[in-house]
Amino acid sequence: MGSQKKRNFQIEAFKHRVVVDPKYADKTWKILEHAIHEIYNHNASGLSFEELYRNAYNMVLHKFGEKLYSGLVSTMTSHLKDISKFIEAAQGGLFLEELNRKWADHNKALQMIRDILMYMDRTFIPSTHKTPVHELGLNLWRDNIIHSSKIQTRLLNTLLELVLRERNGEVINRGLMRNIIKMLMDLGSSVYQEDFEKPFLEVSADFYRVESQKFIECCDCADYLKKAERRLNEEMERVSQYLDAKSEVKITNVVEKEMIANHMLRLVHMENSGLVNMLLDDKYDDLGRMYNLFRRVPNGLSTIREVMTSHIRDTGKHLVTDPERLRDPVEFVQRLLDEKDKYDRIIGSSFNNDKTFQNALTSSFEYFINLNPRSPEFISLFVDDKLRKGLKGVSEEDVEIILDKVMMLFRYLQEKDVFEKYYKQHLAKRLLSGKTVSDDAERSLIVKLKTECGYQFTCKLEGMFTDMKTSQDTMQGFNSAHGADLGDGPTLAVTVLTTGSWPTQPSITCNLPTEMLALCEKFRSYYLGTHTGRRLTWQTNMGTADIKATFAKGQKHELHVSTYQMCVLMLFNNADRLSYKEIEQATEIPASDLKRCMQSMACVKGKNVLRKEPMSKDIGEDDVFFVNDKFTNKLYKVKIGTVVAQKETEPEKQETRQRVEEDRKPQIEAAIVRIMKSRRVLDHNNLIAEVTKQLQSRFLANPVEIKKRIESLIERDFLERDNVDRKLYRYLA
């Protein structure tokens, strides 16, 4: 032989000599098949897990995974078919119970099978992309049981019927329902949705549609809402008890749509029980319920808000235009405050302090308060009344509360400058007559106005207070300097008013009686001695005097009169009889004022310190006056002709209105110039808008008036029109 080839040693793996028994696969499968049967027949206890596992393992190992898998499918399927028949056969209420039981069994079996076939599950199945055992088991259940023609519809109908019965008040087996529903959920969300949820929602919609129609025919609004609320709560509970949590929002949407959204308008406008009635009767609970229910549906809250707004505007409009109400300004304002309080309470208790509702309330008030051009005047009169007597004895906190409420109304006013004018007039009268209940309250209100409108608004008002204080100091100085000289003569109390701070009064002629002249001159020189460069003018139409009078029969009285009246009365110290003309000549008081002053002394019962011939009601040019010897009054101190803030007469109103309009013109011009100076060039519409915005806090500027002012400024070469674009204005430096 030739040379021996050197051979490498090769160690081969030890291989079991497996006899590939052609029947091996079948035999092994038979074992497993048998096991599955036993499992389904509740005979699993006799099986050896380890043996079965090994068998399954071997099958897969020897490449018989396919056989194993398909065997599993067919075995399980045939079992499920049997189960299906069994369930179909169940009668009535047992149907669900059987289904439930069999489902539980199936799951237990499936788990065992899965454990046995674990090796296949982990190796063969992933590599061949087949459905894993557990999932397979569920799918087979689904396909053979749930979707079997005899079960599918019956199952759904049974479930829906149970829900219906529960809705109608019956008690049902919720545990069973829960299990069945959970089964559907476990089988996949599409199964749950297609085989239950979708039909459930449809049926529910029909149910509630019918029910809501029934209720709305026979219930009033409050009752209906209660019922709707109840149903809503019911459905939510149902979901939490036996449905998928994701169904909650879907079913509540159905209820909301059918019971609330579809009937929203009818509910709100229901006669005698709708929203307006609830508002009128302060039905806080019902309103709260309506709010909570309506907020769930689109446009729900806006519907409530709209109806409420139009109601408030209507009521408000009637309030401010009702001629009866307009007789008493204080009452008028009080009603407005009451109305505001009412709605504040409603929005607080029932509408969750919803900002949009608060805004609606504010805009409504803004709307109707400004319908009446006298609102600014009336609010000032209300404040006047409070500060004169209304706040007497009221605690500090309560005073603040009332003043804050007044400020709220003030904010709604468009014509704040009109309010300012009246407030000034009324304040002046209060200060000069000393008729204010509380200095602190006055000042507190000024501070509030300053916070709201700025320093400009209140600096003159504060000036008035300062004048009062300064005058007191001045009088002290005067009295200590000249007090001794006065002796038994008349006394003088002077208030010095700074022109410009106080409402403008035309100065009127009036000759002071000689008894006073010397004293007045003394004061004048004293004052001018310490304040050179100033000019003093006696405001005879604003003063008062206290006179001690002795009448013919010895009656003694102290008369509190106006300065004019004092001048007239003092004349009678030197004459018993005076004609109107003589009085006019001596005092030089203008006719209209003189006539009014004479009237209050000669024609008013209880105050007639003078007697007039003829005894007519009006003062005639040829009348003659005497001291009334027969004058009597129970009181020693008699007040004649007090000066009280009243509602303006028609001509006075016109005058005030005119003055306000005149004052506005320079303000508008100043705004225009300010804006144009910073913008340099601006178009017409924007200029109007900006001017309006700037003046908003004082009054609502009229676009026509603004245009007039613009043209006036063009004429005076402050502005010019652009050559090319007519809409543009240019600032001329």
Binding site: H684, K708, E715
Partner: protein, 231 residues
Amino acid sequence: MRRSSTRKTGQSNSAASVNSSATDLFRSASSKATSKELERIDQLFYSYANRSSNLIDPEGIEVLCSDVEVDHTDVRILMLAWKMKAEKQGYFTLEEWRRGLKALRTDTVSKLKKALPELEKEVRRPSNFVDFYSYAFQYCLTEEKQKSIDIESICELLDLVLGSQFQAQVDSFVEYLKTQNDYKVINMDQWMGFFRFCNEISFPDLRNYDPELAWPLILDNFVEWRRAKHS
């Protein structure tokens, strides 16, 4: 027709010395005009001018008008004033006269007369008319600080200046001005506004009038008045 053949040489010299720069401009800008023409222009001036003031005054203008056979209230005289850039109504200075006649290339009365139709055409060209229209207003301001003209005069001026072009609008507006009480005078802004109005707003329907735009208030009122009247 007075014609003075005596030329006041001294005058023109002094005028030249006083306004030397102006005269230089005058002469330099008018490169085409001959000095003969310039002489004749000056001569013509002095034939109408007032001896003492050395201006053509209203009397002189009246004579000029009859010479060119145009009424002194005719719009063409106003146009002539415009061409001259005359500052004071009723008076022409030498400078203004020179300016006007030079631009018109006339140096005799007959040439001036013939030039008037051409002048009118020139003025009526849209590019010039605005300027003329605004000039017409300013020309009528007689006082130092005057800014507005009384209604009566405005009505006449409107008819004179715009009558031929916008008779309907002018007639209606004049009627309004005479009946309303809000305005006693018209200012430049309102005057110009009316011209724009005639040009831009369809009449008599006033269809495209938008009060939101910045028309002078008087026109807003006018439109309102018209609409109320014709509704």
